[in-house]
């Protein structure tokens, strides 16, 4: 049996100690609920996203049809009006993301879902949500690219785009599930993080996960932990739209609340008014950066499988993380000491956990459906001569890498 633990990494202290393993075990949302509802339902990943959004309190969706994400829109078109929410099919993806940001400024918990081509169109507005610190969630069910690519085939080409896609230098929060159940959980988490940190959160999915059907047991919705944005409690004349406390989390008023605030994509001061002053610009940029960096422990989520005594590790995300888990199981069955490190949060990157892994193992196998995007991040973190060797498996042909292929690579490096 493989032992899986989900952990959140500790923040970097003065000396960045490798403390990823001695971390708090976070109970997955669904675990605690399984007793209440025993019935499992068969559901696809996109459906789980829609259900997760509703569970998180999503009440506004604007989107544009695109394979392989369309089911999210179809389900929410049916469900949102039933719960008093709003669904809109817009004229394009740019309009979709602008509408959800607008709705969020008016107080909505808003969502859009798209795939590569639409995600590219959204990049400018994603930057707008970040600079204006407006909560919103974007689901990108990745397909093989570039351009129109292979609309119904998987690819993991958007990992770097989800970090650096929008111009300017703003951090990103990106979550990446590996199963239908986790798609549900991470959709809720995406909303919670968006509300808590006042930013746009991206949920990356794989085409095969979006369309894959599996049996899941969803939690009793009344027990789902939902975070809502902090509302200001000061009189309007004292309100600063970008006020900060020690953790860089600030209250946010909505349009119509009587605060009469200004929002602009221009670099702005604490009140939201445009500024060209270097000190105010620096302050704004620092806040965007620090609200992520100071909360790494809360943001980063990883799963480790059999890493305690592993000599070779596999590092993979999303659907490749799932294939890797199977490969690790097969390797263990053959008596090899192999483990898995899978990031549930890919941005911010789990630096501490990866650094520890690189120290502990002699090699890390990195299977990806691209030319090596996570691999690039691992290369960044290789420091010592004794750090584990990095071995890549890349595929870019619209098919997935199978557990057997990963196992083959594990064996090659294991016996080296």
């Amino acid at each position: 049996m493989t032992k899986a633990t989900k952990t959140t990494t500790k923040p970097e202290k003065k000396e960045p100690v490798m403390n990823a393993v001695e971390t708090t075990v976070e109970k997955p949302i669904a675990k605690t609920m399984e007793k209440k509802i025993s019935k499992a339902v068969v559901m696809q990943g996109n459906e789980a996203v829609a259900k997760g959004a509703l569970a998180a309190g999503c009440d506004f969706f604007a989107g544009y049809p695109i394979t392989p994400s369309t089911e999210v829109a179809e389900i929410l078109a049916t469900e949102l009006p039933k719960v008093g929410g709003t669904f809109m099919q817009m004229e394009d993806e740019i309009a979709s993301i602008c509408a959800i940001i607008g709705a969020s400024l008016a107080g909505a918990k808003s969502l859009t879902a798209t795939s590569g081509p639409g995600y590219s169109l959204m990049q400018e507005a994603i930057g707008f949500a970040k600079i204006t610190e407006t909560p919103a969630v974007v689901v990108n069910v990745q397909r093989m690219g570039p351009s129109t690519g292979m609309p119904t085939s998987p690819g993991q080409g958007d990992i770097m785009q989800s970090r650096w896609g929008s111009h300017g230098d703003a951090p990103a929060i990106v979550l990446y599930p590996d199963s239908v159940k986790e798609a549900f959980q991470l959709t809720i988490r995406a909303f919670n993080l968006a509300e808590k940190y006042r930013t746009l959160v991206v949920l990356l999915m794989d085409e095969v996960l979006g369309h894959m059907r599996e049996a899941v047991t969803l939690p009793d919705l009344s027990t789902v932990r939902v975070i809502n944005r902090i509302k200001p409690n000061v009189p309007p004349q004292w309100y600063k739209h970008y006020d900060e406390n020690q953790k860089y989390l600030s209250p946010i008023a909505s349009y119509g609340d009587g605060y009469r605030f200004h929002v602009t994509g221009l670099t702005h001061d604490d009140h939201g008014f445009p500024t060209n002053k270097p000190n105010e610009a620096a302050k704004m940029m620092e806040r965007l950066d620090k609200k992520i960096k100071h909360n790494i422990r809360d943001l980063v989520q990883i799963e480790t499988v059999d890493m305690e005594d592993a000599k070779v590790a596999v590092f993979a995300a999303g659907i490749m993380g799932r294939a890797s888990k199977e490969a690790v199981k097969m390797a263990r069955a053959e008596g090899m000491q192999v483990g898995l490190l899978r990031p549930l949060t890919i941005w911010p990157f789990p630096d501490d956990a990866v650094k520890k892994m690189l120290k502990d193992v002699k090699a890390v196998v990195v299977p990806e459906l691209n030319q090596g995007q996570l691999f690039h991040e691992l290369e960044r973190l290789v420091r010592g001569r004794d750090d584990g060797r990095l071995v890549r498996i890349n595929r870019n042909d619209g098919t997935v890498i199978t557990p057997a292929e990963i196992l083959k690579k594990i064996k090659e490096v294991y016996n080296d």
């Binding site: 009440d59 506004f60 604007a62 009006p81 039933k82 008093g84 709003t86 809109m88 817009m90 004229e91 394009d92 740019i94 309009a95 602008c98 509408a99 959800i100 940001i101 607008g102 709705a103 969020s104 400024l105 008016a106 107080g107 909505a108 808003s110 400018e124 507005a125 707008f128 349009y255 119509g256 609340d257 009587g258 605060y259 009469r260 605030f261 200004h262 929002v263 602009t264 994509g265 221009l266 009140h271 008014f273 445009p274």
Partner: protein, 281 residues
């Protein structure tokens, strides 16, 4: 029309925060801003219930000066942002401030689709025939033959008739006047805000510093005089032969009709779905 003292206008401005404004001397944008404020004051609207949304450009700098909820969004996307706000809070008055380039070039798609939906937005389009903020490039509203920094040999593009575009797309209230006719503008804006449905008010504006200079239109007063002398009302235009109307700015309300408004249509849909959903149980 009642005269509103200056102090009253100041009352609606963030005058202690964001002034002086960015607009050039002779620019018409301030006249339009005055007309917007007077229209809102006449309607006695609750200023906590107004959102002013703009895109990018000279005219789109307007929201920062007024004491409402304000959003200075992305180039071309004002109407898309406004759609999200209006759909989520249908009770709010959503006023969109945009320019000819912002609304009909980069934002053309959102413009026609919001008009098609008949979403209750009041779109005030300040048409100065040029991209002023970037220094004078031609827009879809730059007249044929005119000079811009990117049409150094004269503009070969035909220009949009923006009001016709809006009518064709399904807008239910469409009007046009000029910055010279400030009181007429104020009346049109007032009617636009009162109208339930997509409302476009095209305000022809003077940009003496860039468009005027490039096209030898004279100084700001002469451009204002040109608006007076070269514009006629719809009624007057109907009486004149076609040749005499050509090249003139036609002022007035082109269309004002009732058609199902989009947030109301969605509210009805929602009520219907909820009722049916209840019956299923």
């Amino acid at each position: 029309m009642t005269k509103i003292p200056q102090r009253k206008i100041h009352d609606y401005l963030r005058h202690d925060k964001k002034f002086p404004h960015v607009w050039c001397s002779g620019c018409s944008n301030g006249i339009v801003l005055g007309a917007v404020i007077r229209a809102i004051d006449e309607l006695k609207l609750d200023r906590n219930n107004i959102v002013m949304v703009s895109g990018i450009g000279c005219s789109s700098r307007m929201p920062v000066y007024v004491d409402f909820d304000t959003l200075h969004s992305l180039h071309g996307r004002a109407i898309a942002f406004a759609t999200g706000i209006k759909m989520y809070k249908p009770g709010m008055k959503v006023i969109v401030i945009t320019g000819d380039g912002d609304a009909t070039a980069i934002g053309g798609n959102h413009f026609i689709h919001a008009a098609r939906r008949n979403l209750d937005l009041t779109v005030i389009l300040l048409n100065n025939s040029i991209y002023g903020m970037t220094g004078g490039q031609y827009s879809p509203a730059t007249p044929h033959g005119a000079r811009a920094t990117t049409t150094p040999y004269g503009n070969i593009d035909p220009d949009f008739d923006i009001c016709k575009l809006a009518i064709g797309a399904g807008a239910t209230h469409v009007a046009r006047t000029t910055a010279f006719h400030a009181l007429e503008l104020q009346k049109q804006i007032k009617e636009g805000i009162e109208h339930v449905g997509f409302s476009l008010i095209e305000a022809i504006c003077a940009c003496p510093v860039i468009f005027g200079k490039l096209n030898k239109k004279g100084d700001a007063p002469s451009m204002m005089r040109n608006m007076r002398d070269n514009s006629i009302t719809i009624a007057a235009a109907e009486k004149l032969p076609k040749e005499q109307v050509e090249g003139k700015i036609i002022r007035g309300t082109f269309i004002k009709e009732d058609r199902t408004e989009y947030t109301q249509a969605y509210a009805e849909l929602r009520a219907k779905v909820v009722a049916e959903d209840g019956n299923d149980d």
